[in-house]
Symmetry: C2
Subunit: 311 residues, 2 copies
Amino acid sequence: MSQQPAPRLGLDIGGTKTHGIALDAAGRVLAEQVVPTTRGAEGVVQSALDAADACLASAGIQRRDLAGVGIGVPGQVDHLTGIVRTAVNLGIDQMALGDRLAAEFGIPVAVDNDVKAAALAAAAYLGATDLTYLNVGTGVAAATLAEGRLVRGEGNLAGEIGHIPVDPDGERCACGQRGCLEVLVGGGGIAERLAPLAPRVELPTLFEAAAMGIPDAVVEATRISTGIATAVQLVVLTQGSSRVVLGGGVVHAAHGLVEEVRRVLSARAAESEFLASLDLADRVTVLPADYPVAAIGAALVGRWVADPVLG
Amino acid sequence: MSQQPAPRLGLDIGGTKTHGIALDAAGRVLAEQVVPTTRGAEGVVQSALDAADACLASAGIQRRDLAGVGIGVPGQVDHLTGIVRTAVNLGIDQMALGDRLAAEFGIPVAVDNDVKAAALAAAAYLGATDLTYLNVGTGVAAATLAEGRLVRGEGNLAGEIGHIPVDPDGERCACGQRGCLEVLVGGGGIAERLAPLAPRVELPTLFEAAAMGIPDAVVEATRISTGIATAVQLVVLTQGSSRVVLGGGVVHAAHGLVEEVRRVLSARAAESEFLASLDLADRVTVLPADYPVAAIGAALVGRWVADPVLG
């Protein structure tokens, strides 16, 4: 009987769905399954187990065959203890998610913030050790990998850029501030502003509608592209990121968004010698929409326990 | 004859003055001298040599007695090669400053960006390995030390936050953009806006005048304190900084500024549960105004060559 290196399981637990993936030791996808997420601490545990079991059944392996499990969750995660705090979208106030799932699985479980997990997958995909992954989905956050290590800051806080205000006259954000990046370019704010315009103007075709000159579309497209451009500029100037990978639901839903963000950055460079020297537009990249960056990232969080190079 | 460990020399080369300091091996100040800076490549070299020689004469030591020389300069500095680029305030476009000064001194010379140098001195003063030094002077920039290492990014770019726009309707910045942090809270922008109000409203007493309700003072004091508060929030959310050290000419010139920045951060926390959870006001600290943070930092840049722990 040949001894194969053990496979790993990654679980990206989002507000609406939990995406499980099983990878072999070389990182190849063995199975992938998506289940709806039930909110609340017990619901999240059950959703994680359901996604895991569905994945394992599909790959024909048992829980005890796994080398480890990695979890990505939105919210403040202490990656050292596996404790999750204020994961608003999951309905979790505070929970020792790592310990709880380790007890269920009977093997080590590592937990990290979902955007930090995605940065690991982006780095693996691109073969890079230095990049910032900028997630523009329901939430807006970034994660930077410098010399192969995640920039974490105190309490793993680094990268919570969604609540940096960039417009003093902007709309009120759920966090209580005005004009946060998240209210400007996050999925929630966009959906609210586009709702009255549908079906004339919708997110997938927003940039095409703007190119055709439909005034409402121009306003919203400009808002989103300039907001994301500002976020790119912000992470490059703060972290010195050589590459900014755009990801998240908004980026993949809106056709032409990435090109428009690059165009805004180039236009700004034309007005500013300083910005021109930074080549911001050239630093922007995007992964294929069908690359399961969050789930693969979750599986790599697991690997962190064994492989500090990726931590 | 007893063999003393060799002293180090630090030179902070600013746009108007060059501040030299000689430290013994334990970091104690042996001598300090300030000379005017002559702009341009040759002027800067001569200013550095003048400040160094004045320092050495005052300490009674020779160039050949030094273990090394460290230089802090405003501008884009490749700390690995000692090449300085676009140091606008020094009138230097590009120059191999490290090599040039090493040839003059006959000993190793290390060069770094002046704000990164100051972060090293702030860390030494506070006995900290994790902090962000936020310089609010003519320029506005930050430098973050994480686990005892400077966050550098590609090309040592990290921390150039002065050119992040925070107000779309803000004034035009010298860099070509609108509403940059630097035009909002940097010394140049402040001086320009206060000039017509003097002597009724001046920077040293601005916050006292604002407290008395003088309308022009209220407008400008609010602008500065909210701008710096935004910069603090920006670096904490991006880098996860546990401590933000405010420094630079504006911070030390304006009485009551630091307290007002803390008050703004506390007021924001009262409006936002998310910000409240971060205790931003408590992260803000300041060094004594008479601590020569930039010159001592420059001397520590020198130490980097021998002591990678501080690099």
